[in-house]
Subunit: 377 residues, 2 copies
């Protein structure tokens, strides 16, 4: 697809799908498009011609070319009664997502839905391509794990377009603030708070927190980290907060923690980690320095993933509902679809967002310093 007319074609198609052109709206004239793309009229006409035959535009001689109303067209043309759901995640194979996907898939396939999966690799451009693909087809519902949810999203228009076409969608794990969509998330502030308070209650005062901050999960957990310090009146050294983003995840947090461990003023006794995956990496660092867990340092993870029970140190961790969350997402989207098909008057029956209150799995990566004091003294 590197021909000029196909470039013009996809550019126009994007503008329709992101809502720049709304149904019945006149698009730029052929001569304007010629200038805009620096191509001949013939090329512009080829592109438009294709989009007309595929039902994205219609032409009126003497008047102009207009954006078609695909929502009405669908009714005529969709004979396909197949039940389809799309799941968009950042990474398919990472960590807890497979469990979430499994939970959703098992529930959805029970109901006879077919599940298509897409992964954005945490890239907004890829997310855009996927949304375009989804808008082109007919999906009954979409489950989305947002890409880089802590940042403002350049594809908001596509989500708004989903709403315009009344395609139900929900977000899991996090959501784009601007949209206020239906969502299935954890209370990550509470989670971060619980992690930190757990250590504080065990007598830890000098605690390092390490958070991934390109998704809202991380920023919220950090917020909880701060909140716990504030509540218990424990002063927080700014140096004790480490932040990183997805691209840096295999290097930066480890390096920063090493720096702290190696600094002379180091008196750290506790470490709050963004997730279990990070804990496992930290454990390697600590083993090399023969720092014992939990004797010398207490560590607390997040997600209660398989990784929590895989090492010689069994991790204390915040429990993520994982496949439970996937199932809830599936149920919610199923409800939304049903609601849509009988949206005559059922005002009372409504679908709500779910916020999981986190719980903690206490194992033995954290140590009670209070008891130690008593025995030592």
């Amino acid at each position: 697809m590197e021909t000029k007319y196909s470039m013009v074609k996809s550019a126009l198609k994007s503008k329709i799908m992101d809502g720049t052109y709304t149904p019945y709206q006149k698009i730029s004239s052929e001569s304007e498009l010629m200038k805009e793309f620096g191509v001949s009229r013939h090329t512009v006409r080829l592109a438009i011609g294709d989009l007309v035959t595929t039902g994205w535009l219609y032409r009126e001689q003497g008047s102009g070319t207009f954006c078609a109303d695909r929502s009405k067209m669908n009714e005529n043309q969709r004979q396909n009664s197949q039940k389809n759901i799309a799941i968009i995640t950042t990474y398919i194979s990472d960590y807890i997502f497979p469990s979430i996907i499994r939970g959703a898939e098992s529930r959805l396939s029970q109901e006879g839905y077919q599940v298509s999966i897409f992964s954005t690799n945490n890239d907004h451009e890829k997310e855009r391509q996927i949304l375009e693909k989804i808008l082109t087809q007919q999906f009954d519902g979409i489950i989305i794990e947002p890409t880089k949810s802590a940042f403002s999203n350049p594809n908001i228009n596509y989500y708004l377009n989903l709403e315009r076409l009344s395609t139900p969608y929900i977000m899991i794990n996090a959501y784009y603030d601007e949209l206020e969509p239906l969502s299935i998330v954890m209370d990550d502030v509470k989670g971060g708070f619980m992690q930190t308070e757990h250590l504080i209650k065990l007598g830890h005062i000098d605690i390092v927190g390490c958070f991934k901050t390109d998704d809202t999960q991380g920023t919220k957990r950090m917020k909880g980290f701060l909140k716990a310090h504030r509540k218990h009146g424990i002063p927080l050294n700014p140096k004790n907060i480490i932040t990183y983003n997805t691209e840096e995840k295999s290097t930066k947090p480890i390096e920063e923690i090493e720096k702290i461990l190696d600094s002379k003023s180091n008196s750290i006794t506790g470490l709050v980690c963004y997730n279990d995956e990070l804990v496992i990496k930290v454990l390697d660092v600590l083993r090399r320095r023969t720092i014992r867990v939990p004797e010398d340092i207490s560590i607390i993870g997040y997600d209660d993933s398989v990784l929590a029970e895989v090492s010689e140190v069994k991790l204390t961790s915040i429990i993520h509902p994982k496949s439970e969350m996937g199932k809830a997402a599936a149920n919610t989207i199923i409800d939304l679809i049903k609601l849509k098909s009988v949206n005559k008057k059922n005002e009372q029956h409504q679908v709500d967002s779910v916020v999981y209150t986190p719980e903690m799995a206490i194992r033995n990566s954290t140590k009670d310093l209070n008891q130690q004091k008593i025995t030592t003294q």
Copy 2:
């Protein structure tokens, strides 16, 4: 309709409908039509273009323009000309499958395919339901990880039906012997052989092998285990072979290994495991008995999964290509689809099965007994 191109259009259409042009027959070339109707090439192309988009003709560059077979057309291009691939796995979230799926998905989405996933939960009945669903829809290709591949499969007829409908499919990780399908697999016999020989070469003689035997991967690895003993003339105590199936995987192998460890005649120095997942479970058992790895016992895993580097003992393990295999599967299925669409005579261009020759990642869960002997004596 008195424009020139519409005259050409209806003239051509008439010739199709009155049988002058029969399906698959080449129609006059563009230059011939120019002379015939006394119009420019552009006009001819306009007419043909319209007939192509409405499904009366199809063009092949360098070859010509042909009359379409409208009886079959309905089935081919009905509704969406969307490109769809199905992936059927046993478990979506287990272990190495997410990596395989990711590899396949990334490659397939690059090529504009949409990926639908289905999981059988290692259940033949569920597999049947999925195959029925797939047969009723139009998928361009299917990637299958067989369910309980070591047993004879009750759904063979469905697979044969896929062949009859000439829907390309391939199998990964294992395959049903009866079908002899295209497949992307490891040489698991070699893998099991390498695991065992590695220990033998390190001086181990009393080795326990623990294999899952409801898939061919497990039975083949066991075969390699036996083969290595035979090759090196090491007698094999039948009690040193533990087998289990998927349902028993969280209990039986562990219990059997504990039995062996607790028996008086225990002189085990090496343990060959079906996969890394099992190794991790065994490590827990050993820790409780303060049996050290690799000092007291050497363990070797399979798959080189994340679990291999997650514990304090870094596992020696056979390397599974994982996402590489997913990509290869994607490429193969893409090739098959292309081949199918141009199946005129290209006999030489053929798609073949892939067998990965295993390699080994040597870490420190295995110990060299030879060296010890030398220093001890």
